[in-house]
């Protein structure tokens, strides 16, 4: 063996012994869109996650080890999400991953976590099917957990707001052509069906569409008294602005994405009054929320959190995952999943205090009682009165 080879082995041994002396950090993946139309959600989620990790690390980490985040931008693209999932699992060897903003990306990527038996916390994606992708009887155990208000909860609340509270009987649905929009539209139609209402118009649009005249005219011609939406910020703003073009004023009620900064900014006064279900509103109503909002504002030097819901859910997802790791006393995926399904004690979160959030067959932490209706008011989201 030549000297170079010996040197290599010596170096490898040395680094190995050094690494084992200091406890290795626990790697947690963070996957979300940090650029593009969904970026306000992805960036807020990531920043919420970073806040939680900084808090936990400052208190000594978990199991005597520090947490280390591995952040990846999935650009809201399914194929990027799949690549990232494989990289995080096989190369970075993460203990768990938090994230997924886009329902389509979540559905495409989760398979790899399921196969690798690594828990994944969906902290934003709301498609109802997300946590039902791997359930009995085909799969004994499900590794997909969520702490976001799913579309079944949201669509029921949207319909309640439109039909019961605001007493509209003629509704139109405008949904984008992505997985998110179309799955949400199905949930909305189902929720309307329960109330015995058939929408007067169900219209679809593509991302980046600049003209919504045809869709809005159909809704207007059908005599719609309210527009229900399922889409993301930029196109929702096009809808609100398109209504101004037609000089047509009816309320907009839609999924939680109406709280996105890029909807509120781009729609301006046309977006005022839009209502949506929210798990968290930037309003210091409890000490925990006050501390969280102030920490976020201080750390990222912003006044308005781009997507408060994503930030809060991202923050909580880390606490839920860490509680499970602590309870399992291990970072083994199977044990962490079992711990998540049987969490003892309560996890103090920003959205709510989670007590027994998950069971083996129910992987949804957010129940409808934890969700409120928000309203866009003066460029911010406030609790709807």
């Amino acid at each position: 063996m030549n000297t170079i080879g010996k040197a290599c082995i010596a170096a490898a041994l040395m680094s190995w012994s050094l690494a084992s002396m200091a406890a290795e950090p626990i790697k947690i993946g963070v996957s979300g869109p940090f650029t593009g139309g969904s970026a306000p959600m992805g960036v807020s989620m990531r920043d919420g996650v970073k806040l939680a990790v900084a808090d936990i690390n400052a208190k000594g980490g978990v199991l005597g080890r520090q947490l280390q985040l591995v952040e990846r931008d999935d650009e809201a693209k399914n194929e990027r999400g799949v690549q990232i999932a494989q990289e995080l699992i096989n190369k970075e060897k993460v203990v768990g991953t938090v994230g997924f903003i886009n329902t389509g990306v979540a559905l495409a990527s989760q398979r790899f976590y399921q196969e690798a038996k690594i828990p994944v916390m969906d902290n934003v994606a709301t498609g109802t099917i997300v946590t039902k992708q791997f359930v009995l009887p085909e799969n004994k155990d499900n590794y997909v957990f969520r702490n976001a208000a799913n579309d079944t909860i949201q669509s029921a609340m949207i319909v309640d707001e439109a039909v019961i509270r605001q007493k509209h009987t003629k509704v139109a649905i405008l949904a984008d052509s992505t997985n998110y929009g179309q799955l949400g539209r199905e949930d909305l139609e189902r929720a309307l069906g329960v109330k015995g209402i058939k929408p007067v118009a169900v219209e679809k649009y593509n991302l980046k569409d600049v003209d919504m005249t045809a869709q809005l005219l159909k809704a207007k011609q059908g005599g719609a008294q309210v527009v229900l939406t399922y889409g993301i910020g930029p196109e929702l703003a096009q809808i609100a602005n398109g209504m101004e073009k037609l000089n047509w004023r009816v309320p907009i009620i839609g999924s939680w994405t109406l709280s996105m900064g890029n909807f509120i900014d781009n729609a301006g006064k046309n977006g005022e009054g839009a209502r949506m279900p929210q798990t968290f509103i930037q309003d210091p109503s409890t000490p925990k929320r006050k501390a969280f909002i102030e920490a976020y504002q201080k750390a990222y030097k912003v006044d308005r959190i781009p997507s408060p819901v994503s930030a809060a859910q991202g923050y909580d997802s880390i606490y839920l995952l860490v509680a499970a790791i602590k309870q399992a006393g291990s970072t083994d995926g199977v044990k962490v999943r079992e711990a998540l399904e049987n969490l003892s004690g309560t996890v103090d979160g920003v959205v709510t205090n989670y007590s027994k959030p998950y069971t083996h067959d129910d992987h949804e932490a957010i129940k409808s009682s934890m969700v409120v209706i928000g309203e866009v008011k003066n460029g911010r989201v406030a609790l709807a009165k």
Partner: protein, 296 residues
């Protein structure tokens, strides 16, 4: 009736956006037989540069909307000249049939990436100089800015046509487009004319960018789909006719809004593209184009 009128008005505003970009394709095709596949990106850059001047994203506003337009047009002209100089001239020099296709596409991608790094990937609002409140025309609603888009586009195309027909420089452009070699022998600096045509085409696109930006959102990705649609318009109308660009744009714009309403919003873009295929099959030179005879 009101509905139809409303759809037609929206279609006209949309179609004129396509027409201006398509017009840019024709300007370069006429003189050099090449196209700038980065027309959409020229529009996007124009809109974003305009936004930096009149918006508050880079510490502005520095200028008011109307004063910003000439600055953006000059910027567009420079950008077009750069594209010609880097991407097209080398290909023409070695008489490459298709080199310019890849090089203009490559430049378009580079411009898009640069823009993403300067202005971010998010969509931004463009401050509008006019009230957004629509007024009624025969029962349909029209926004003042939509009128400005249509009139601005028509005025610009008219100006370019007048320049080409009346001025001596314009005659050099026409001569080059008729027969580049003969024009060169007559003492016209044809490579200068080609650079000029590229500058002019990007300037029109940049101008179109600031015209449409208040109606749409502004962002690094806004050019891609508009550029492609405008290319379809240029083919439908014919690559050698300014009239063709306008008619082609109106046909595509109105077809999109009508299909969206009367058939299905899911099929909004189909009729325009079916029309494109029909035109290519029946009259390949476009509705208004002259059939080019290519000697081999």
């Amino acid at each position: 009736m009101e509905i139809l009128l409303q759809l037609v008005f929206s279609g006209i505003a949309l179609g004129m956006i396509y027409a201006v970009i398509a017009f840019g394709y024709q300007l370069t095709f006429a003189t050099s037989g090449t196209l700038n596949f980065g027309q959409g990106e020229a529009l996007m850059l124009g809109a974003l540069v305009g936004l930096s001047l009149v918006g508050n994203i880079h510490g502005g506003p520095y200028l008011n909307y109307w004063l910003m337009i000439p600055v953006v047009i000059v910027f567009g002209a420079l950008q077009g000249a750069v594209v010609e100089w880097i991407g097209v001239r080398p290909a023409l020099k070695i008489k490459s049939e298709f080199g310019w296709i890849m090089s203009t596409i490559a430049l378009a991608i580079i411009f898009k990436n640069v823009a993403e790094n300067i202005w971010g990937k998010d969509d931004l609002t463009f401050p509008t100089p006019l009230s957004a409140t629509p007024f009624q025309v025969l029962g349909a609603n029209v926004q003042p800015m939509q009128i400005v888009v249509v009139l601005g586009a028509l005025a610009m195309m008219l100006a370019v046509e007048l320049f080409n027909r009346k001025s001596i420089y314009g005659k050099a452009v026409v001569a080059t487009s008729n027969d580049r070699d003969a024009a060169g022998l007559m003492g016209i600096n044809t490579s200068m004319v080609i650079t000029f045509s590229y500058a002019l085409s990007s300037a029109t696109a940049a101008f179109a960018g600031v015209l449409v930006a208040p109606l749409t959102l502004t962002g690094a990705t806004m050019g891609t789909s508009l550029g492609l649609k405008a290319f379809a318009v240029a083919i439908i109308g014919g690559l050698t006719s300014g009239m063709g660009a306008i008619v082609g744009g109106l046909i595509l714009g109105i077809a999109e809004t009508l299909t969206g309403f009367y058939i299905s919003t899911g099929y909004k873009e189909v009729p325009g593209l079916v029309l494109l295929l029909l035109v290519l099959a029946i009259k390949p030179a476009g509705l208004f184009g002259k059939t080019a005879i290519k000697k081999v």
